[in-house]
């Protein structure tokens, strides 16, 4: 029995901590593969500390967590004291209910409602960019408050209620009594409330996502938005560090709890006190440094909103493009005006075009440069969310290949240019050469090949997934009729039984580890996978004549209408097109560049070697515009967008439907709980009845 107990306990621990253990393990991996451990290394830790954007996000997160938790602790403690001293029971329980609601409320509701409130108030004072650090701080304080109150209030209740009276009796004024007697006695609750608030603030994503402004990024949001490329192992390193930090905080918080305190020796108590106060000390010093550092010379700020992992950021000895721009422009500004300024690029990231659209549309944020994809640019132009770029301020625009100067989404029909292409890419199929026969490759039909049942991955987003079906059926992706959409759906349904799963960046893991054999994905990403697993290979689906029949996409730099400093934004776009940054980006992102300074650069071509053909395709360059015309995704009319979403749901609903046994198990569980409740209730009633009957019979006691 004893051993069984032990084994069970260990199993529970393993279940709880296995994922974190794996994460920590892989943070020491020498390579960036998640499937194979190729040796112990601190490489990713080194990498982490040279990634300035992540460090900035970390700094932001820490400052936010410190400020919000300290403020929430002060307010929450006072609130708990107030609630504790309330005389009216009904008011008291009412207030407690009100306090608890934000905690039970789904975070997403809290997040959205706060965003609405901030935007509404911002509208009242005619501010174009309400959301910012301030709103984020308010939101964090708000969701931290109930936790602080809930951890402090019980300490007040546990406190001998005569203590404040004893203090008054001995000569304390009520204020002195609060400071000298009540506070020290609820201190353990305050500390654990603070630590809880701190950790909650540290890892909050949902509420931050809705209330964050432009030019500010917290760590969870940064990690989330890295998904265009993939989460790099330096994030494992960071997560490991955060986990260890939180672990230490938790141990400290436990040490300060009363139970431990009475058990601890004086020495241990002293040590715990020193530890706690040193943590607070460090926190205080960091805050101070940040406050001092944030004051200084005139600063020109540029808010850039881009995909995650979509710029050369100084890691792997690459060029830190944003830092280079800051330096370059500060110098240029000085030469032109004789004034010293600080240039700051606030670089934040998003995960999808739809996220970007939501942020921009809400009107609460102000960005200066954004990098949407083709069809989204079309939509932005239509809705007036981006403005024409003054090409006179972007002389490097001349290096963009002519074919890409007026792509389908920005034809220049109204005489304006709204976008400057950043990268483009082609969707291809990656497959495992050891498992897939040579004769099966070449077209889209590989994704429907019954031979590879359970080994095929499909896109987990409607546009790309329906795209594969439409290309395969020869349907025009942009002008499909409802009937053709339904045909594509049928095709996807037909494919579903042989699909292993619908994925986005999980594709890396599954393909590199050999867990899946076939997937359609973006060329640049496929090359990264091949780098990690030699057995993988890649092709572009073609027809019999060798014409590409596949999606080609482009991302381009645009300036939103809410831009605060358009000239600076144009300076930035121009800088991105100049030789050194453009090559650094192209080498880092590994997508095709439309910039002749890049494609005609011999060193760059050497750098890519064979990958050049994969990235840029083997078709003649002059055919590219035609490919764009035929296969790029266009902004769909509203009715088709809705149809697409509806059909996608139809497909996915089946996908998420459970095995019938799951429903049965669920029903049995619910029935068991309800049955037990009824049994207990009946038992209780029987006992009570017996009790009353007996009491009625026996004579009343004096």
């Amino acid at each position: 029995m004893k051993t069984a107990n032990k084994v069970y306990t260990w199993l529970v621990f393993i279940f709880l901590y296995m994922p974190i253990a794996v994460l920590i393990f892989y943070s020491f991996n020498a390579s960036n593969s998640t499937s194979a451990f190729s040796g112990f290394s601190l490489y990713w830790y080194k990498e982490l500390f040279s990634d300035s954007a992540t460090l900035t996000a970390l700094k932001n997160t820490l400052i936010l967590a410190i400020l919000s938790s300290v403020i929430a602790t002060v307010i929450g403690t006072l609130a708990a004291a107030g609630i504790y001293k309330m005389k009216n029971k009904y008011v008291k329980s009412g207030i407690m209910a009100v306090t608890n609601i934000p905690m039970m409320n789904p975070e997403i509701v809290t997040g959205i409602s706060m965003m609405l409130l901030f935007v509404f108030v911002g509208g009242l004072v005619h501010s174009s960019s309400t959301l910012g650090f301030g709103t984020l701080l308010i939101a964090h304080i708000t969701f931290n408050l109930p936790y602080v109150i809930l951890s402090v209030l019980p300490k007040f209740k546990q406190m001998d209620k005569h203590l404040p009276e004893a203090a008054l009796d001995l000569g304390c004024t009520p204020a002195q009594s609060f400071l000298k007697v009540e506070l020290p006695n609820v201190m353990s609750g305050i500390v654990s409330g603070f630590i809880m608030a701190f950790t909650l603030s540290l890892d909050d994503f949902v509420i931050s996502y809705f209330t964050i402004g432009s030019g500010f990024e917290t760590l969870p949001i940064r990690i989330y938005s890295m998904t265009k490329k993939r989460v790099t192992p330096d994030m494992y390193a960071l997560s490991a560090l955060i986990f260890v930090t939180i672990l230490i905080l938790l141990i400290l918080s436990n040490m300060t709890s009363d139970k431990e305190r009475t058990r601890m020796s004086q020495k241990a108590k002293k040590r715990a006190k020193i530890a706690v106060s040193s943590v607070f000390g460090v926190i205080g010093v960091v805050t101070l440094i940040v406050l001092i550092a944030s004051s200084g010379t005139k600063t020109l700020t540029l808010n850039v909103y881009n995909w995650g992992e979509y710029i050369s950021d100084g890691s792997d000895d690459s060029l830190d493009v944003n830092a280079a721009f800051e330096e370059y422009y500060a110098q240029k500004y000085y030469e032109e005006t004789g004034e010293r300024v600080k240039v700051r690029v606030n670089y934040t990231t998003y995960a999808s075009n739809e996220d970007l659209y939501a942020k921009l549309k809400s009107g609460a944020n102000s960005y200066d440069v954004i990098v949407p994809s083709d069809y989204m640019i079309e939509r932005f132009i239509k809705e007036g969310l981006i403005q024409p770029i003054n090409l006179e301020n972007v002389p490097n625009y001349q290096y963009i290949k002519d074919d890409f100067k007026h792509p389908f989404y920005d034809t220049g029909a109204d005489g304006n240019t709204y976008s400057v292409m950043y990268t483009y890419g082609i969707v291809g199929i990656i497959y495992n050469t050891e498992k897939v026969d040579e004769e099966d490759i070449g077209g889209w039909d590989l994704l429907w090949n019954e031979k590879y049942k359970g080994q095929i991955l499909q896109f987990n987003n409607p546009r790309d997934a329906f795209g594969t079906a439409m290309y395969s059926l020869g349907i025009d992706v942009n002008n499909a009729t409802e009937e053709e959409w339904r045909m594509a759906l049928d095709e996807l349904r037909k494919q579903k039984p042989i699909v292993q799963s619908y994925v986005m960046d999980e594709v890396y893991n599954k393909m590199e580890s050999g867990e899946a054999w076939i997937a359609a994905y973006y060329a640049g990403d496929c090359l990264s996978m091949i780098e990690n697993n030699e057995a993988l290979d890649f092709y572009y689906p073609q027809d019999e004549e060798g014409n590409y029949i596949t999606n080609i996409f482009a991302d381009a730099m645009c300036i939103p209408t809410s831009c605060a400093n358009k000239e600076l934004a144009e300076e930035y776009i121009n800088f991105m097109l100049s030789e050194e940054p453009a090559i650094a980006n192209a080498e880092y992102i590994y997508y095709a560049s439309p910039n002749t300074l890049v494609t005609e650069n011999a060193e760059y071509q050497d750098y890519l070697e064979d990958d050049y053909d994969v990235i840029y395709g083997t078709i003649p360059e002059e055919d590219l515009p035609e490919l764009f015309d035929k296969y790029a995704f266009r902004n769909l009319p509203q009715d088709k967008l809705e149809l697409e979403n509806r059909l996608w749901e139809e497909l996915k609903v089946d996908a998420s439907s459970f095995d019938p046994s799951v429903y049965i198990v669920c029903a049995v569980m619910v029935a068991a709980v309800v049955g037990f409740g009824i049994f207990k209730y009946v038992q209780k009633r029987k006992r009570r009845k017996l009790y009353w009957n007996n009491n009625a019979k026996s004579p009343a006691t004096a």
Binding site: H162, A166, A167, L170, G171, T173, P184, N185
Partner: protein, 373 residues
């Protein structure tokens, strides 16, 4: 008497949520006196104490200190200190700091604080306990710290709210003596709240018996015991046989169908009265020699004496005697005139019957610690 009044309560009343807790009481407390508020749970004794301490404001009436009205003076400005029922020591401070608390507030010099704390510790026999954690002290030790903490301020009046309630019997007796000694040594007025009549009788100069928010009797312990004012006091203080009787004339009372000589006078002729006879004042004699005769119901050995329940004329008497009698035995009882105490009828007259339903356990239950107001 030329004793000086230090605290006066004048017509003080207090209700909580419409329930009357104090019903217009008047009380004078004299300097250097050990006065005890005695009564069962909910009689208002703790509320009285809290009104004096300043934690409760009376609805009507005045609280006077040295002849000055202090109704609106907050607790921290009153020259009284309190020893709380559960001590209310500050758990975050050690023994030394707990005792030094009041002096620190007054910004007393460290040397002076040290001197005074050491004095106090010596007085309560806790020398050497300075650095101890108060949470790890025994109940008796905590009690002493609480007393030292309250006395270091040299209060004019010390209020003690059932301070010995949480201690075991032996310790309680020791602490009773110690408290009495401290009071004599310091000459501070003690106002002591308890529900334990024995404690009240053995320690106090003056006992105030309270019930239902009213003061039933104020007097010295002997007065209270020997000359109870009414059936409530007689029943609450010690054991009593309380019988319905009639005052035939001065010095002549009739109860249980027998005429008795007594020492009481001043009642109207044939006035209905309550008669109190203490169990230890009843002598057991042969049936033929007895003034009253009855049959023994039960006998319980109590150490010093036997407790005998006898039915006489449908009334169950309690008798305490050193002589053993058998249950079922027919006995007679003899009562000396000075053992009979006659009281006027009161609202409590019919509430205290004979010993027919008496049991030690029940008595014990009704003595349970007073609920906190």
């Amino acid at each position: 008497m030329n004793r000086k009044k230090i605290i006066e309560l004048k017509n003080v009343a207090k209700s909580f949520d419409g329930e009357v807790v104090l019903d217009h009481i008047n009380l004078d407390v004299y300097e250097k006196e050990f006065i005890t508020l005695l009564g069962p749970s909910g009689c208002g004794k703790t509320t009285t104490l809290r009104i004096i301490a300043g934690f409760v404001t009376p609805d009507t009436g005045d609280v006077m200190f040295d002849g000055v009205k202090i109704n609106d003076v907050p607790p921290y400005k009153r020259h009284v200190n309190t020893v709380f029922q559960k001590y209310a020591l500050f758990p975050h401070l050690n023994v030394y700091e707990n005792i030094a608390f009041a002096l620190r507030l007054k910004k007393t010099s460290e040397e002076e604080i040290y001197k005074r704390v050491e004095e106090m510790l010596a007085m309560v026999n806790l020398a050497g306990f300075e650095k101890k954690d108060v949470n790890l002290l025994s109940g008796g030790q905590q009690q002493r710290v609480a007393i030292a903490r309250a006395l270091i301020n040299n209060p004019r009046v010390l209020l003690l709210d059932e301070p010995l309630g949480a201690l075991d019997l032996k310790l309680r007796k020791d602490m009773q003596n110690e408290l009495k000694n401290i009071q004599r040594k310091t000459g501070i007025t003690f106002i002591y709240v308890t529900h334990d009549q024995e404690e009240a009788l053995s320690m106090s100069d003056t006992v105030v018996v309270m019930a239902d928010g009213k003061i039933q009797q104020i007097g010295s312990p002997t007065d209270i015991y020997n000359e109870p004012e009414n059936a409530f006091v007689a029943d609450f203080i010690g054991e009593s046989n309380i019988l319905d009787g009639v005052m035939l004339d001065d010095y002549k009372a009739r109860f249980s169908g027998h005429d008795f000589e007594c020492l009481d006078k001043g009642f109207a002729k044939n006035e209905a009265v309550d008669v109190v006879v203490r169990p230890e004042d009843v002598d057991v004699v042969d049936p033929e020699k007895g003034m009253l005769k009855g049959v023994v119901d039960s006998v319980t050995f109590k150490g010093v004496h036997y407790e005998i329940i006898v039915t006489i004329d449908n009334f169950k008497w309690m008798i305490q005697s050193t002589d053993y009698v058998k249950p079922g035995q027919k006995i007679g009882i003899y009562i000396e005139p000075d053992a009979i105490h006659i009281m006027k009828k009161s609202e409590y007259s019919d509430m205290f019957g004979d010993y027919s339903s008496f049991s030690d356990e029940l008595e014990h239950l009704s003595d349970a610690t007073e609920e906190e107001e």
